[in-house]
Symmetry: C2
């Protein structure tokens, strides 16, 4: 008995939040700390593994390419079974990527881009197929939106995702309504999962109760189903055992804890995961950005002027209250939102290190960081605006048509 | 306030069973009485209406045809909103028929035929489209059967249904797997229903508890969805307001109580219903027949010899223990299974009345009833066997292909 190593993931699908601890589930993230969620504690509670230096080095070694800065900087900080994925890759065994988006608003914000930017890097680096789930059904169930509106938003959001430059020959983007209504194998996998998960379990994992509608109760199976290659018979030629890697924000982990619990009972491989931290709101790191508060985030639809104004007006400063105090005590990068945003979007490591050093010492003022950030974001959003304008309905249709991708299975 | 007429259907989705009362839900039927379920009490508890003489006469009047014996003899004994359906018919407004079958076994028995025999009469009499749902997903969730097997059984059962002589130009038969996986409008209606029904409600209506799997919990929406014409865009040309009439056994009513509760909140018409009594087991009327006990029923696959043996050996007799006793006291038609079966399958009213009279008086012995029944069943099953042999996979495919039917909408 002394040797028994409890599998914290399997034995603890339900992750209890104790008083004072950060609260993280797919719909709410709360932290009482100014530096935001304590991610090390979250790894322990969720039973995942840290993305450590050794793993980053191994990724660089097996791919022969430098790791993405989102990986190097601990933004993708947590993982499940990445070692297995790298083992597969070394043996030239196939795997595929799966990520998603809940289309609840027309304008996506910078935080929404992070998993997709990183996913694109993963796809290019490992040369693997990608499936992107747009959960229009979820948003209908959770929000005061019609089916038609959530489906329309799915197509609008697809344009933003496509504008990041995904390869149409290697990427399948789908709306749940459209894909479930066109692929019985997907629906069959939904049923297989739904047969193995009880109300007790989803109550524990997702906090449902007796007044929850039956649509929400069964939804987790819909987010789980794309983890299995048999849900995409055209892409994987009917193969059910192609491994899956899911890059996502850590708040989505409950879905995939459930998926990983179910997978072996279905005789299917557990999906591997790479979890990101949350992209902070302009006002600070206590919570995720909110699409419903236009001043909490930079939207991909913001004008240059709006970007400038929002950063200048709302980006929480870790600097001193006066120039004198700042020069004397220095700035605090751990709470400064402009600095945090630079860690997400400034890919030059040396320059970022210099900024950190000079801001911490008090040499650089908050105004400098904001100016630097405004420049970078203006370019990112401006480039995105241009590329998105070129994404026609026809291109969206190509990405969203179930089809064979340019891989052999 | 004194005028308030409580709508027992709406205010009482959950029908409590008190001690000593018959228990009826979609999975279990128990009665402690030798004459079986007390259907008058069930009508009260479920809040439906009796199919009375006036209704039968009105049906004959508006259709200009004699009522089917299953209707005349009180086998379809209960209804919801049939008056509304007849009003529509008189005004030449369209409606459609919806019934179904859970494909849990290859061999359907006589009891399974009843709703289909009656539905065929309704279709021919009113000249309306018919949709038949084969809930292969339900049977996967409830039984120890694979998805592939339940889907195969759906196709096998479709052959039996088709063999009854439904018109392919007016009838769409579908497997849930296949149709959900090919029609987003159906899945959208599932979601609409699932958003409006809570766990609390299905717990009350269907007796689910916290250990119920999430597939069962959300399934009622799948049986509800075909009640709405917008679930069949090809048949109804996108019209969402075509009224629906559901002939089914009374144990299916919980699904449609729920559907009728949801319909007005979706701005859709409530389905009307015609409920049948249960076809008794050979051993007596205390329970429904069981597909898992081969001796409890006559199967459509039984040989002439099996039919003869089963009726002679197992059909519960309401006659006296000895010929003398029988001649003295007479037989009891209310518990005699052979007589009960004749009410289902002998369409000659005069002859049935004569048999009842002569059996009750003791003039006819049980052996006569059995002989009469064996003759009738041998012919029904034999004819069915012949017609079923002619139902090719190709014909099944025609019936199960989503398509326009021969009606204008």
């Amino acid at each position: 008995m002394a040797d028994a190593t409890p599998n914290s993931e399997m034995s603890n699908l339900t992750v209890e939040t104790n008083p004072g601890e950060d609260f993280v589930d797919p719909w709410n993230v709360h932290s009482s700390s100014a530096t935001g969620v304590d991610y090390d504690k979250l790894i322990k509670r969720f039973g995942s593994q840290k993305v450590d230096e050794a793993l980053v080095q191994r990724i660089e070694k097996v791919t022969g390419k430098p790791a993405h800065h989102l990986l190097r900087r601990g933004i993708f900080f947590s993982q499940r079974d990445m070692t297995m994925i790298l083992d597969l890759y070394e043996k030239q065994q196939p795997f595929f990527l799966y990520t998603g988006r809940g289309p609840s608003s027309e304008a996506m914000h910078l935080g929404h881009l992070i998993p997709f930017i990183f996913t694109k890097w993963l796809q290019e680096t490992f040369d693997v197929p990608l499936v992107v789930q747009l959960t229009d059904d979820e948003k209908f169930l959770w929000k005061d939106l019609s089916i038609e509106e959530t489906n329309r938003l799915a197509h609008e959001n697809a344009k933003d995702i496509i504008a990041l430059g995904f390869d149409v020959n290697k990427t399948f983007i789908f709306s749940d309504y459209e894909y479930i209504g066109s692929c019985k194998e997907f629906y069959m996998n939904m049923c297989r999962i739904q047969k193995l998960v009880t109300f007790n379990q989803v109550k524990g994992i997702f906090g449902f109760d007796d007044s929850t509608c039956i649509g929400k109760i069964s939804f987790p199976a819909i987010q789980a189903a794309p983890s299995f290659s048999s849900s995409f018979p055209l892409i994987f030629n009917g193969r059910a055992n192609v491994h899956c890697l899911i890059p996502c924000a850590i708040d989505q982990d409950p879905y995939f804890r459930m998926t990983r619990d179910v997978a072996p009972r279905l005789g299917l491989p557990k999906p591997a995961l790479l979890h990101s931290t949350f992209f902070p709101a302009l006002q600070g790191a206590q919570s995720k950005m909110s699409a419903s508060d236009p001043n909490s985030s930079i939207f991909l639809t913001d004008t240059d002027k709006q970007i400038k104004n929002k950063v200048n007006k709302y980006a929480f400063s870790g600097g001193g209250a006066t120039v004198e105090e700042h020069k004397q005590k220095g700035g605090n990068c751990d709470v400064d939102v402009s600095y945090q945003y630079l860690t997400f979007f400034l890919d030059d490591d040396e320059r970022l290190a210099q900024i950190r050093k000079d801001y911490t010492s008090g040499e650089l003022l908050t105004g400098f960081l904001k100016k630097e950030l405004i420049e970078i974001l203006t370019k990112i959003v401006g480039d995105h605006r241009q590329r998105r304008a070129q994404v026609t309905d026809d291109i969206v249709k190509q990405f969203m048509t179930p089809r064979k991708l340019n891989f052999q299975y």
